[in-house]
């Protein structure tokens, strides 16, 4: 065995093995820009040595195939972060549109829904002007005019919110077919992987499955569970099965209370999807939480202003000497706004029903038409806690501020989640593309970056804390 022939045979096999390994490398290069492709490394296996008279003679090495350099834990973490980033990104887009309704865009003087804050002030100030000259028709007309602007802006804002909600509902429903296509494809790939490569990395098939998982993670929040023979189970984050190895469970939709709900096996999973992540999670959070919250605030504002103003006007006497009817607000003679029957829907239906400016009851009950005591009382409503324990302008101001804080918070989350995705992709690329030494180097970079960033954060935090407290020592020890 230890002859020149055997040596040549070993060398020949080694060359063959090298050639096959080069093919693997060439394949890596050819697929360098293929989305989802994971770099493969050749597998080497020693040929069984032959032992003669107690002496072992080597038989060279054979290239037995290729293994993809993947790590499912890292890929799973990446998918999870993508789900969060997609959810916050989608929600942020919806919130930006929502905020533009109430806050003027940069460089603009008015917001999409007009300026409700100024409308409230103008409306109550019109009563202040009327106090000075309660019989002046132009001033009375001004009250109705400012009331019309306020009611119009509030009802327009409510209509815009409802329209945005419908648009989000359609976007959400539209993702169903994409989710079903992906879960179906993953189930098929599971079958192929389990059949053709049950005990090893399935290379391209696993790349395809990972690519589909990544796309699915952009759409909904999922959990992945590895099963026997390289199979995979996928559930929603709350545990509803979507794919079980070779079987996928299709998601269906149905209208519930005017919006689209999502079902799997007849179980309504809408609430689970809303909290789970992915763009669908973002759509549903905006549709079911953010917009209803804004609508509810507007409804409360519209309800309180309408009922309080109507009640006060009916407590006085109008220019023609007619007294109001406080006891029956729905049919009262001197209502300025349409009288709402419930808080819900008040914003959308807010309107001015009074057409004759003479019906503005500037005078107190039983007083002459030149009296202004009820106009004074009307103006004072602006500083009374008539909207959920707050003045109208403060209530609206707090609503806009809270909305801005929510947008800012989601913006922060989205930026951080996108940064996290970028970091994980960098780590994943390092793992897929290089050897263990380079992987360790990549890990060291991550550690260095974190430590340096921690130092920067600590110093900046202390500098800022000191700067905001003028006179204190600024330097960080």
């Amino acid at each position: 065995m230890g002859t020149i022939n055997s040596a040549l045979s070993i060398m020949s096999q080694a060359l063959d093995a090298d050639q096959q390994a080069l093919n693997v490398v060439a394949n890596n290069v050819a697929n360098a820009n293929t989305p989802g492709y994971t770099r493969e490394t050749p597998d080497w296996q020693e040929n069984q040595p032959i032992t003669i008279n107690g002496v072992s003679y080597g038989q060279g090495v054979t290239e037995t195939g290729a293994t993809s350099e993947r790590d499912r834990v890292l890929e799973s973490r990446l998918d999870q972060q993508q789900q969060l980033a997609a959810a916050s990104g989608t929600r942020l887009t919806a919130l930006d549109t929502l905020q533009a309704l109430f806050t003027p865009a940069s460089g603009s003087s008015s917001s999409t829904a007009g300026d409700i804050g100024s409308d409230i002030t103008s409306f109550f100030n019109s009563f202040s002007s009327l106090e000075a000259n309660p019989t002046d028709n132009a001033l009375r007309q001004s009250v109705l005019s400012t009331a019309g602007t306020l009611a119009g802006d509030i009802s327009n804002a409510a209509a815009s919110l409802n329209s945005q909600r419908s648009a989000l509902d359609q976007e959400a429903a539209g993702t169903t077919s994409q989710v079903n296509a992906l879960t179906g494809a993953i189930a098929q790939l599971n079958q192929q992987i389990q059949t053709t490569s049950p005990d090893a990395d399935a290379g391209t098939l696993e790349d395809q499955r990972q690519e589909d998982l990544s796309q699915l993670s952009q759409l909904i929040g999922i959990n992945q569970i590895t099963t026997k023979n390289n199979g995979l189970e996928i559930t929603t984050t709350s545990g509803q099965l979507l794919v079980s190895e070779g079987t996928s469970y299709q998601m269906t939709t149905g209208m519930v209370n005017g919006v689209t709900d999502f079902f799997v096996n007849n179980r309504d999973i809408t609430a689970d999807l809303a909290t789970g992540g992915g763009s669908l999670g973002g759509y549903l959070t905006a549709r079911d939480t953010d917009i209803p919250g804004a609508l509810s605030s507007l409804d409360q504002l519209a309800y309180s202003i309408s009922t309080s103003v109507n009640k006060q006007n009916n407590a006085g006497t109008d220019y023609d000497g007619v007294e109001g009817n406080v006891a029956n607000p729905a049919n009262a003679a001197l209502n300025i706004f349409s009288e709402p029957t419930a808080v819900a829907g008040s914003a959308a239906s807010m309107s001015v029903v009074m057409t004759d400016p003479n019906q503005i009851a500037a005078a107190g009950a039983g007083d002459g038409t030149g009296d202004n005591s009820n106009a004074v009382a009307m103006y004072k409503l602006s500083s009374q806690l008539i909207v959920n324990g707050e003045t109208p302008i403060n209530y609206y101001s707090n609503f806009v501020t809270t909305l801005g804080a929510t947008v800012s918070s989601v913006q922060t989350e989205n930026t951080a989640q996108n940064a996290s995705v970028t970091q994980l992709q960098t780590q994943n690329n390092a793992l897929s593309g290089v050897n263990l030494n380079d992987e360790a180097s990549s890990m060291t970079t991550l550690e260095r970056s974190y430590q340096a960033a921690s130092q920067v954060f600590t110093m900046l935090n202390n500098i800022m804390a000191s700067a905001l407290n003028l006179g204190d020592q600024t330097t960080v020890s």
């Binding site: 070993i10 080694a14 050749p42 597998d43 080497w44 296996q45 020693e46 040595p49 072992s56 003679y57 080597g58 060279g60 090495v61 037995t64 195939g65 293994t67 834990v73 890292l74 973490r77 972060q81 913006q411 922060t412 989350e413 930026t415 951080a416 996108n418 940064a419 996290s420 970028t422 970091q423 960098t426 780590q427 360790a440 890990m443 970079t445 991550l446 550690e447 260095r448 970056s449 974190y450 340096a452 960033a453 921690s454 130092q455 920067v456 954060f457 110093m459 900046l460 935090n461 500098i463 800022m464 000191s466 700067a467 905001l468 003028l470 006179g471 020592q473 600024t474 330097t475 960080v476």
Partner: protein
């Protein structure tokens, strides 16, 4: 290159914070270490600043508050990623040690083959 503020040519706090978040997102350790040095220098220089400059700094600090919150969240996410990667490394190191000499994955086969080669010395 960061723009300088009116405080004696130092970079604006807001720009420092934003740049730090960006550098951390792309794991640019060199840039972050530069920024750490920059912050140290800024910190030292502040001891000698007059009241007017410190007032300007206070204004900058308020302006940078939102970006600081973003930086804090990116740092938090990085720590979580670092934890995941550290555990992965331990897991992979443990698997290698446990399976050394066996014929499992490609990587492990390499280890086994290298040991055998060393023993025979004729390949």
């Amino acid at each position: 290159m960061l723009e300088t503020s009116e405080r004696g040519g130092h970079p604006k706090l807001k720009d420092l914070v934003v740049e730090a978040s960006r550098a951390l997102s792309r794991l640019d350790a060199d840039r972050l270490e530069e920024l750490a040095l920059s912050c140290q220098a800024l910190n030292r220089a502040l001891t000698d600043e007059d009241a007017e400059t410190r007032a300007a700094l206070a204004f900058e600090a308020k302006d940078a508050t939102g970006d600081m919150a973003v930086f804090a969240r990116v740092l938090e996410a990085t720590r979580a990623n670092l934890n995941v990667m550290s555990r992965l490394r331990e897991l992979r190191a443990g698997r290698l040690e446990y399976r050394e000499g066996g014929l499992g994955s490609g990587l492990l086969q390499t280890v086994a083959w290298q040991r055998t080669e060393s023993a025979h010395g004729d390949n």
